[in-house]
């Protein structure tokens, strides 16, 4: 990414519609909850900042870089019932389940993770409309806050995003020097949300804090990555093993990733009564592609890692014209063996 182009764009985002004072965040939460909505925000849980449903402004964390989880779990829960079944001597009963889709406000998301929504939407409406996802997303207002801090795992600028990207967001906030926010409605949904809760907001100028823009990872060329991945020749390249042999095959990276969305269908209960569930799954598990025959097309961990990388930098962009990776860096932070996806991006930029 050209740094000049980026800093040029940065100046364009300053025309805020409204301001939200620090002390008025509680009023916004009350206002949303009074209308029966759920207010999801980064809050402390077991010494971590995570997206949770909150009831008051006191619960909302400040000074965090990024929540441990992505907010995708409020649109695509880790486990959910999609049908119920029962069976007795005379009949078999199958019952669909209504989607539990409350009005939801996601507050304090980062611009990187909001950019994952396009890919999730495309996938869940690809050849079948998965209402368990779409109905929830339709009822969710995503409020992003431009980053004023980051760490060495952040790499949004390397995947053509930045702290002032607005992709996927309905409302965009910037922190102000007096701990409040400037507020800008972006989508129809976002503008309607601001109008609905208009009484909470104020107007007037406020001095915005400078944004934190991570440096781009050197020697990464996304076009080149994509080109190399399109060429099947890389498939058995020993470089996969060299870079990813240390992967222990846990699913932590995929579960914290805002764009990963693979799931498994499982039945729970007895033979006579039970429920069908949709649970998160991970391409990093050896049983993910295990066939009933016993054959496994991705038998080795480096092959499974290759698949995850292909999904992000080839399948998503090629098939859905959307981002497979938003550069939030969660996978790097959470990895028990510190496998860094940007090092693989560098290798495939050669």
């Amino acid at each position: 990414m050209n740094p000049a182009r980026l800093s040029g764009r940065m100046k364009t985002v300053s025309m805020a519609d409204r301001t939200l004072k620090k002390e008025d965040l509680g009023k916004l939460i009350d206002s949303v909850r009074a209308k029966g909505g759920r207010f999801v925000a980064p809050a402390l849980l077991a010494r971590q900042v995570v997206f949770r449903s909150v009831k008051s402004a006191e619960e909302v964390a400040t000074g965090y870089i990024l929540a441990r989880n992505s907010f995708k779990e409020f649109l695509f829960p880790q486990t959910e019932v999609i049908a119920e079944f029962s069976m007795n001597k005379d009949s078999v009963g199958l019952k669909g389940v209504e989607v539990d889709a409350p009005e939801t406000v996601v507050f304090g998301a980062r611009p990187c993770e909001a950019a994952s929504l396009k890919g999730l939407r495309t996938l869940f409406t690809w050849d079948f409309v998965d209402e368990f996802y779409t109905k929830r997303e339709d009822k969710t207002v995503v409020i992003t806050v431009g980053c004023t801090s980051g760490d060495e795992a952040c790499f949004c600028t390397t995947v053509d995003l930045s702290p002032e990207s607005t992709e996927g967001a309905d409302v965009y906030l910037r922190e102000t020097e007096d701990n409040g926010y400037t507020v800008k409605g972006l989508t129809e949904k976002g503008k309607k949300f601001l109008d609905t809760h208009d009484a909470v907001f104020t107007s007037g100028a406020a001095k915005e804090r400078p944004l934190f823009k991570p440096e781009t990872v050197p020697a990464v060329d996304l076009k080149r990555v994509s080109e190399r991945l399109k060429d099947r020749a890389h498939y058995d390249d020993p470089v996969w093993a060299k870079l990813t042999m240390k992967c222990i095959g846990c699913g932590a990276c995929t579960f914290v990733c805002p764009t990963c969305r693979c799931f498994d269908i499982t039945d729970e209960g007895t033979a006579f009564e039970g429920e069908r569930r949709k649970n998160w799954d991970s391409c990093q598990y050896d049983a993910f592609t295990l066939h009933a025959s016993g054959h496994n097309p991705r038998e080795h961990q480096p092959q499974r890692w290759r698949n995850r990388f292909m999904c992000k930098f080839n399948f998503y962009p090629e098939k859905f014209s959307s981002k497979g990776c938003v550069g939030c860096g969660r996978c790097i932070r959470v990895c028990p063996v510190r496998l860094d996806i940007t090092e693989v991006m560098q290798e495939f930029s050669k």
């Binding site: 240390k246 222990i248 095959g249 846990c250 498994d264 063996v337």
Partner: protein, 297 residues
Amino acid sequence: MENILRQKAKELLSSGEVKVVIGYGWNRAKTRTTPVFITDAADTDQLVWNPLCVNNLSVYLTRKFKDIQALGKPAIVAKGCDIRNIAVLISEAQIKREDVYIIGMACQGVVYKQELWQGELKPNIMPTKCHNCDVRDPHLSDFVAGEKADFTPPEEPVGMVFDKIRDLDSKSPSERWAFWVKEFSRCIKCYACRQVCSLCYCERCITEKNMPQWIETSAHPRGNLSWNLIRAMHLTGRCTFCGECERACPVNIPLNLVNQKMIMVVKDAFDFKSGYDEKAHPPMIVFSPDDKENFIK
């Protein structure tokens, strides 16, 4: 010490005695260590040794890592605590003693999590295991790098894990139950605890046995509880308290409490501590006429 390590690794690879050295190297920014697999004597300068070398690399000796096994005989850079896991792997017939070259690292302790490192190893960033370590001079090694440590572990174990266990033990069963249900409720079933553990070497974990599904795979309270309990039971008498599962857990479940408690139970019941003698079998897989059996009432 780093130089001694690199020199030894170079010798082993040059002579052909081992085909790969499993050790620690830097990440790109040199802010964190990460496992490295050195197969060329010319690359041994990549090896590093410092208090950020937290990973228990013995996991790479297990059959979960067929690609690494395929490289040939390994040498492994191991702290005393890591060697305890290797001893269990040997006692459980997962590897033969002669099939691995152990480079034991005399150790002054490591950080609990790498993110805590600010340039100095202070007691408050070290895990409980380091405060009570009795293997700072590594046992069972083919070669030891570094000087004998000037450290005697306290007679009564100290540290946060033991404090918390005492606290939990003083509570009623229903309070303890509530505590664990709450802690396990955060589990996201990523199985990082299992994957990072060198003693979780089953090729097919019980959670993957689905005809019938013994352990519910859903990350709901019932599924989370059954997963975490079954893992605790499967590690009882085997776990060495290396702490990798707690370190790897993305949602901060205090797994060290579970594992240390089970270690204390086994110590009481069988007077056994795992990982010191590679010839001794874990008590839960052997029958001994000397077993107390005082649980039969």
